[in-house]
Structures are given as C-alpha cells and as structure tokens.
C-alpha cells in the first residue's frame, strides 16, 4: 500500500515534469514575444525594452529560462505576470477560489441529481422514465458545453426576463457591482443568481454521465449472485435494494466523480468564458492570447497536479470501499 502510493506519486511527478517541458517548449516556439505590446508602444525606448527583457530573463537561452522557472516553481515563487506587477502565484490562487466555487456547486448538483436518477432508472429498467433518461443522457453528451451554456442564458436569462419582467439570473460575473452594500440575505441571493446558470451548464453534462454510469453499475449488482441469494432467502425488496444492492452499486461512481473533478476544472475554461466568470479558466485563455507564459505555466501545472492527486485519491478510495481490490 505504502509502496503503491509512493510509486504512483513518482509517476505523477514524472507526468507533471514532462508536461511542464512540453508546454514550456510549445509556448516558447509559438510566434510572438511577451513584450510585443511594449515594443509597439512608441513612448517606450529600446533601453526600457532591454531592461524589461533582462528583468524577466527573456534574454537568456530557452533551457536556462526553463530551469529558472522550474527552480522558482518548486519554491512556490511563480514569477511575475508580464501584464502588470501581479505575482503569478497570488493571481492563480485568487482565481482558483472562483473556479472552485463554480466547480463544487456543479459537482454537488450533479451528484445529488445524477446518482439517484441512475438508480431509479435501473430499478425501472425499460420503463418510459428509463428510456427518457437514457435519451436525455445521450443528447447532453452530444452537445458542446458552450451550446448548453448559451441555451441556458437565452432561456433562463433573456426570455424569462422578457416574459416575467423580473431578473432571475445574471449571465456574467460572480457578483453584482453593488455587492458590498447589500444586506446579508441579499448577498446570498445575489451570489446564487450569478452562480446557478454556469453551475447548471457544467452539472447537466455530469448528470448525464453519472446517471448513465450509476444505472449500469446498479443493473450489474441487481444481476449478481449475492443479490439473488438475498432475494431467495425471502428478504423484502426494500431491504434487498437498500442493504445489499445500493451499497455495492455506489462504489464505482466514487471513481467516476473523482476523475470528473479534474475534467471539470479543465472544462471550466469554456464555462468561465461564456459567463464571464473570474476563474483560472479565463485567466488561462487571456494569458495564452497575450503570450503571458508565466501565468499559463502556473495554471497548467496547478491543473495537472490536481489531476494527478485526484486520480490517486480515486484509486485509494476505491480500494478502501471495496476490500477485494489489491494494490501491488
């Protein structure tokens, strides 16, 4: 067990390390200099540009820059953003809060709706409800998340407001501009009005995944020998389902949910762009477009580390819940 964790962590470290080299190289060989905007400004002299290059270490060879970055990264000194005086680390951690708020809400909704949905579908296999749920899952799977997000905006923000005259949901930002003047309950309301639509657009896709997976897992357990035994010894249907089937059918979904967290953080790029949400996803896109590579590196590394950690946690939880799993 201990060896297993160590080995997985070493693999994870290699993955993150390899990724850092690939991304660094890609960023460096993409055309464009981070200081292009400065150079285009006629009021900035050659001398200033030279000093800036030196300050950011851009005059060094690429491998040298990489090593400097790497050494800084492991000491949690992630450098400065090219666009201002911000320290990259503070920038990323600040934006990470926004992403986590969005992601946790979305995952909460997805788990609370998706899992019961899948179980119910399995219990009523081939019923109308089951078929409808299956169709919903397939359609949601097949829809790009930005289309879902835009549809939600159009239906629940634009048209709902047009028809009722009341503004239920906001389509942009995390809070209103007058947020700090609001009363406590108004603050909660305002936060929810901003949070619901982006969270829902992420949650819908995850609900489709979870319900599909949970349905399959539940059906598999319902067909197992030990469940036949439980039925045969005369237990009531309720006991069979809650005591015997559910407990086992819920194990596989744990893996899926933990793996999904990583996917959702990566996918946040799109949702945050649609809903103008200040999270790491939008930070990432803006940074790539400006060739602001210290920020790009910091975001990509944070996401990669989260992926590695979540993957490991998923496997460990699985083993903890299902004693048949052995680590070797």
């Amino acid at each position: 067990m201990f060896n297993y964790v160590i080995r997985r962590l070493v693999y994870g470290l290699i993955t993150v390390f390899a990724l850092s080299i690939i991304v660094f190289w890609l960023l460096q060989s993409t055309g464009g200099d981070p200081l292009d905007r400065l150079k285009a400004n006629p009021r900035i002299t050659q001398e200033t540009v030279r000093q800036m290059s030196e300050f950011y270490g851009l005059d060094q060879p690429v491998w040298r820059q990489y090593l400097t970055w790497l050494w800084g990264f492991v000491r949690l000194d992630w450098g400065r953003s090219f666009t201002g005086v911000d320290m990259v680390r503070d920038l990323v951690f600040e934006r990470l809060g926004g992403t986590l708020r969005l992601m946790m809400t979305a995952l909460g909704i997805a788990v609370l709706v998706g899992i019961p949905l899948g179980i119910y579908q399995a219990l009523k296999q081939y019923s109308f409800f089951d078929q409808a749920g299956t169709f919903f899952s397939f359609v949601t799977f097949s829809t790009p998340i930005f289309v879902l997000g835009m549809l939600l905006q159009i239906i629940f923000a634009l048209y709902l407001e047009k028809w009722t005259g009341v503004k239920f949901f906001w389509t942009s930002g995390m809070n209103s501009t007058n947020y700090s003047n609001l009363s406590f309950f108004a603050k909660i309301g305002d936060t929810l009005q901003h949070l619901v639509l982006p969270a829902l657009s992420i949650a819908l896709i995850s609900i489709a995944g979870y319900s599909r997976y949970q349905r399959a897992a539940m059906l598999e357990v319902m067909h197992s020998d030990y469940l036949r035994t439980a039925r045969a010894k005369g237990l009531s249907r309720r006991t069979v389902i809650t005591k015997h089937a559910l407990r086992n059918a819920l194990i596989p979904i744990v893996t899926l949910v933990s793996l999904d967290i990583a996917g959702v953080i990566g996918g946040a790029v799109i949702t945050e762009t649609i809903f103008g949400w200040p999270g790491i996803g939008r930070l990432y896109i803006d940074a790539i477009n400006l060739n602001n590579w210290p920020v790009v590196m910091a975001v990509v590394m944070s996401i990669a580390i989260m992926v590695v950690v979540m993957n490991l946690l998923a496997d460990l939880t699985y083993g903890w819940l299902d004693p048949r799993v052995r680590y070797d």
Binding site: T30, I205, G209, I270, N289
Partner: protein, 342 residues
Amino acid sequence: MTDENRPDIEGAPDRGLPTEGALLDTPPETSLDFEALDAAEGMAVEPVTQWKLFRTRFSRHRLAMLAAAVLAFMVLLAIFADFIPGLRDPTQPIENEAGQLMLRMAPNSEFWFGTDNIGQDQLSRVIYGGRTSLQVAGLTGFMVASIGTTLGAIAGYYGGWIDNLIMRFTDLVLSLPLLPVAIVAAAWLRDAFEGKEALSLAILLGSLLWGTLARIVRAEFLSLREKEFVEAARAAGAKDRRIIFRHVLPNAISPIIVNATLVIGVAIILEAALSFLGFGVRPPTPAWGQMAAEGGRLAVNAGAWWALVFPSGALILTVLSVNFLGDGLRDALDPTQTIERK
C-alpha cells in the same frame, strides 16, 4: 469530455435474468441469435458467418440503424456539396438588388436557415461546415485507430520492457488535462499549419485521444496471444507478422471499430470547444463548432436564434448519431452478449 471520463454508454449486459422481485415469473428471453445458431447446427442449411451474425444483430438495433442512415446522409451532403443545386458560396456575403448586405435575415423561403452576421447564407455554411467538421473528426478517428492499434498491439504482443515503456507513455498521455493542453498545442499549431486548420486539428486531437484505445487493444492482445489457435499457428511455423495480422488482429477488431467510432463524436465536440475559444477552424472557412459559437453570441446579443440553432443542431444530430452507432456496433460486434430489442 475526455473519453475515459465518459462512462460506458451501454447498460450492463442483459443476462436474460428476470430483474424485478420474483425469480421465475418470466422465462429468460430467447434471443434471435441462438435461434439462428440452432437452426444452422440442426439443419445445416446455411452456415452463420460472423458477418451475418453482425448484420442480424445490428439490424435489430433500430436506433443504431437510424443513426447510421443520418450519418450517411450527413457524409453524402458534405462530399457532394458542390453538386447541390441552388447552394450558394458559403464564404460570400449576399447583397440584395439595392446593393445592401443581407445581414441577420431570419429563415425565409429564400434563405432556409437565414443569414449570419456578415450576410452569408447559413444553409450553405452548415453544409460546407459539415465538410470541415467531418474531415477533422474522420481524420482524428483514423489517427486514433492507427496509433492506438499499433502501440497497443506491440505492447500486448511482445510484452516485457517494450510493453512497460509504451504503457507508461500511454498513462502519461491519458493523465494530461485534455482541454488546457489542447489549447496550448492548438495555439502552437495555428502558427505552424497556417491555412490547413482541419489537418492540424486532426493531428492535435489524434495525438491526444489514442490512449484509451491503446489500453483496450493491449488487453485484447494480451489475452489472445495465449490462446490455442495462436499457439497452433506458431507451432505451424507462422511468423510474428502473420500471427498478428492474420490471427490476433481480426479477433480484436470489434473494440477498435467501436472506439474509433466513439472518438469521432468526441473529436467533433472538442473541435467545437476549441473553435469557440478561438483556437479552431478560422473564418471564413465554415465549421460547425465555430458557426455555433459565433451564432450563439449572435443569439444571446441580437436574438438571432437561427444562427445558433441550425449549426449546433447539425452538430448535435451528428454526434448523437455517432454515439448511437457506436453503441449499436458494440452490441452487434460482441457475440458473447445477448441483445434486447431497442
């Protein structure tokens, strides 16, 4: 959106056991295939070949049949777009008699799907956009099938250090955060492949998505190479190459087909996501994802619903068909499963 995060779309295999409450209320359903097999065994009228089994099973899957038809229609439209009468140049803004651009026209008898922000005909853009999107997706599917099968086959057949090396590499690729990496790489490829976006996107997606298939093929090869018929072939003096291509690969072909099909759907969705963020196919070349992204902004800001509905509708319909088709193929190609009517 990654493939491995996508749960198995099929349900648990139906083993013919009664599911609810009582044990022997209903007799296990006899499926058509066993009847066909019995008939073939008993009377020896006609042998049941793999292909025939597949056809019978696939044609029972009505949704998959429908999906295949829709997909064929989409592909034909894309291929023969140039020969469709009345279709306009998709990259040409249209002017009326007075010389004004026909901007953001709602669908009408002349422009079935309306016109977009700069006055281009949406119907022809959706059809030509299908050409781009399907090209990207098809090429991606082909790349995934080639890379995944080759690496998986080498790893599974030879084993040892080469297996270890390939599989660690596969693990690495699979644990990359898909979208962020795709974005950085797309930004790089955008410069490297100026003007050949479809090809560059396919290369990008293909080199990120082959991991799952490589794992599947390796597992198939691992178990198949221990089978008696492989041993027999080896004893008869067959070389590795012959064993792999003649004996092992044909038996591992079904998961390859299924996975490559499903990857096509993933590729269309990812192409759309990248286009939405500005890293995909660039205008004026039409592609579904890029049109849906542009149209969505137009729909939200200017109420032009048709700009979102038609391109995204074509996209969703195609991906949906791909997924149903993949599901149907999986059921039909796996002879160990019994199939229920859908």
